[in-house]
Symmetry: C2
Subunit: 243 residues, 2 copies
Amino acid sequence: MTMTACKNCPLRQKSMFMPFTDEELRFMQSFKTGELKVDPGTTILMEGSNSPQLYTVLSGMGTRYKTLENGRRQVINFLFPGDFTGLQAGIMGEMKHSVEATTQMTLCAFRRDDLWTLFRQHPARAYDLTWIAAVEEHFLGETIASLGQRDAIQRIAWALVRIHERLKAAGLQKANRVPLPFRQQDLADALGLSLVHTNKTLKTLRSKGLAHWNDGVLELCDPPAMADLAMIDLERPQKRPLM
Amino acid sequence: MTMTACKNCPLRQKSMFMPFTDEELRFMQSFKTGELKVDPGTTILMEGSNSPQLYTVLSGMGTRYKTLENGRRQVINFLFPGDFTGLQAGIMGEMKHSVEATTQMTLCAFRRDDLWTLFRQHPARAYDLTWIAAVEEHFLGETIASLGQRDAIQRIAWALVRIHERLKAAGLQKANRVPLPFRQQDLADALGLSLVHTNKTLKTLRSKGLAHWNDGVLELCDPPAMADLAMIDLERPQKRPLM
DNA sequence: AAATCCTTTTGATCTATGTCACAGTTTAAT
DNA sequence: ATTAAACTGTGACATAGATCAAAAGGATTT
């Protein structure tokens, strides 16, 4: 198994990502120190640990989550191809959450110690990194609004629409269908709902002909109705940088 | 009224902030383009707007919030002295939430257009900016965990402990007491609770002798018990950069 | 001083969602 | 093939917290 060269990165041409200049491509290639391939269930980054690596997801999916003292788990976000993770440890010195692979995953690895070099030598990429952090902050803010102000069916509709958008933008869509290989428990833990109620609410969405999520495949049958239910102003997909 | 010179900034020597070099101080002074003083209730940044300004809170307090289609409001975070805001608009081109002054506030204003100059000319400050974004991301993640996994009394305890920590670090503490000039409705909107239940839960905390929040002053009577109730591993206050 | 407005407080109900218990289903392990 | 383990699906019941209604306290205006 050989490592994917940045030049041949399957992600960089997707519509959602801003294009690279040749120079940036070379720089990223030098920044990339390796590739990590992990099996489902593998913990990639651990809460409290001080990882020397930062990662961009090349393929596969995972979860970022926190575990509370009482044993409950909060999934903070799902990890999809193109997502960048590990910045917290890279900058603050310690991961504040864990990252786990749900499927097999391939990740581009960068050295934490090179981060400072990046800021000094390539301000445009540093700016992009901050951009990515700002996008994530926006998403987390929206998640907070969902957990705080939406009821169960709205929350699930919101999550499915957002997930669908993300995966679509990452080029994984076929006719309103995207792969979504998580368990219902993962979604429940992401939305602060019980597994039972999540299951029943998914059933409601199914019976209303709005969304089907079975066998690891999510189909949004009526995206506008879903967006409406979720009280989402469907933002036209904005391009963002890829690390 | 004259503008506060960065050299005389009352915040920069607080224990929570990393010290400035003389050179950085000069740079920030040149980066600062003005000072904004607003009355309580003023909207400083508006969701959807494209503000040309970024701000650091010099004094006073405010809220960052989103309004949903159904009229409900989610307070995403409170704004305290030392907080930096507007990065989203600065980088993504549009605010994804609004910012409102709760008390009278004074803010240092920076020009959005200078942001790119900052990245090119002062990588250390750019790094700090990303650091601030990472800290915020961490906090929002913890908020998500609170809304998703803690019950009402734990949520309120969590919020009061975190708020107390922040204000203490900002040097506003006197004997376990900090100023907290928000309404119960603001806290309710931040935690996804109804006003009524927030009120009753605060009463419970009071009657247990754990925390008193009256007349705009928050007193944590038994911080360890509160932290315990909130399932918080009280992180020793980490220094973070100040913009 | 009266009136108005805003916030806090309290009690009485209602309901969305959690918890429990168990039955199918599928996949993996022996 | 059989058992075990993991996930999904469903009904019965319990409850934390929402909603409704209204009072009481302060502050501000007339």
